[in-house]
Symmetry: C2
Subunit: 241 residues, 2 copies
Amino acid sequence: MKAKLPLSRIAVVLSRTSHPGNIGAAARAMKTMGLRDLVLVAPRHAPGAEAVALAAGAADVLEQARVLPTLAEALADRALAFGFSARGRDLSHPARDWRAAAPEAIAATGEGLVALVFGNETSGLSNDELLSCQRLVSIPADPGYPSLNLAAAVQVACYELSLAASAFRVPQRAPRALATGAELERLHARLREALLGSGYLDPAEPGRLDERMRRLAARLALETEEVAILHGMIASLARRQ
Amino acid sequence: MKAKLPLSRIAVVLSRTSHPGNIGAAARAMKTMGLRDLVLVAPRHAPGAEAVALAAGAADVLEQARVLPTLAEALADRALAFGFSARGRDLSHPARDWRAAAPEAIAATGEGLVALVFGNETSGLSNDELLSCQRLVSIPADPGYPSLNLAAAVQVACYELSLAASAFRVPQRAPRALATGAELERLHARLREALLGSGYLDPAEPGRLDERMRRLAARLALETEEVAILHGMIASLARRQ
């Protein structure tokens, strides 16, 4: 649980959002990555049925969202605010790649509260809004079509944060039991014996078959159980000859 | 343009998608990250007006999408297919973190065509579908609510790919012209002189003000132009005394 603590100190602030559906989808995106604190600054419409539908299992995040009239109020208790922009070139201070900046956001939670700030769907963050943020960041995208949907940008932003915080791991299956060198040698010997018996392999001119089979087996990284299955298949095929 | 080549050899395959809107949103997510090749396997509804609306500026990706009846046909020309699953623990082969696996997808484009495969919104990829994929991957998410929206998962997947391919960079502003040591020394001297003149600084007991100002200036990484502005402000305030 300790790894999740930084994420609880980071709010997602959506400023002047036009479409309530995007607010719901953003809530869902946040919750999948362990973030819960959503702040809505002057949304055009209060989140209603459409937002709840798109929030899916994250309706709780939506319900607990704070709605505030100005960005200044949303950032009043924040020590560090990251403004997300797709613009970059025409801005007064340089944008950083969000992947490079995300660890700073996690580290800053040890010193204060943090915000990620996203602007209106069409126009993005205004210059005034960007000036309220101490950091300006961008998600690298195709310059020919850099327009991520608002909730998609929130998804990528929160994904990077959760990875920077090492919050979650992909669930692992029980470790595989790899075959040992001795088991593989017995398999190669068994295959060779069967192929000599069937006439596929000419003992006078064995060629490079053994080499190729060994290369193939090396790529496979066979498990002990799989070696046993192959033994059985070779034995069965050899019996039918 | 060379960096984009690997992405042109990677298709996104959506299997048995229920909601056409998700297909459109996935097309948009792909295009923002430089991917264009969309394959739809047995979608419940052919993408219509709703899909086009959610594709926004990526209607071309949607128009060029191939619709195929089976996953086998979608993967027929693919050398390597990555199946995305949120399940993990109950699967027969181990899932890898997509961030760790994405470089393998990029490298594989040098040897053949690649696919990223996503299942139905509700049920994900079936066991049979997963068995058609050579690799099983997951996006790390909160185990309490791991359900990324389909298009959000496509967005994160394509984002990782484009970063693994170093396809796009955040546009950089012209490099800043940082102030030199000599410029900073002149600023500190000017401030000290002004504060002695105003009586804020007692020459008999200067305390640690100079030290604090130097630490502050070090954090600021002032630009030459900013030093000039500060000089002007100090001069103006000193004149008013």
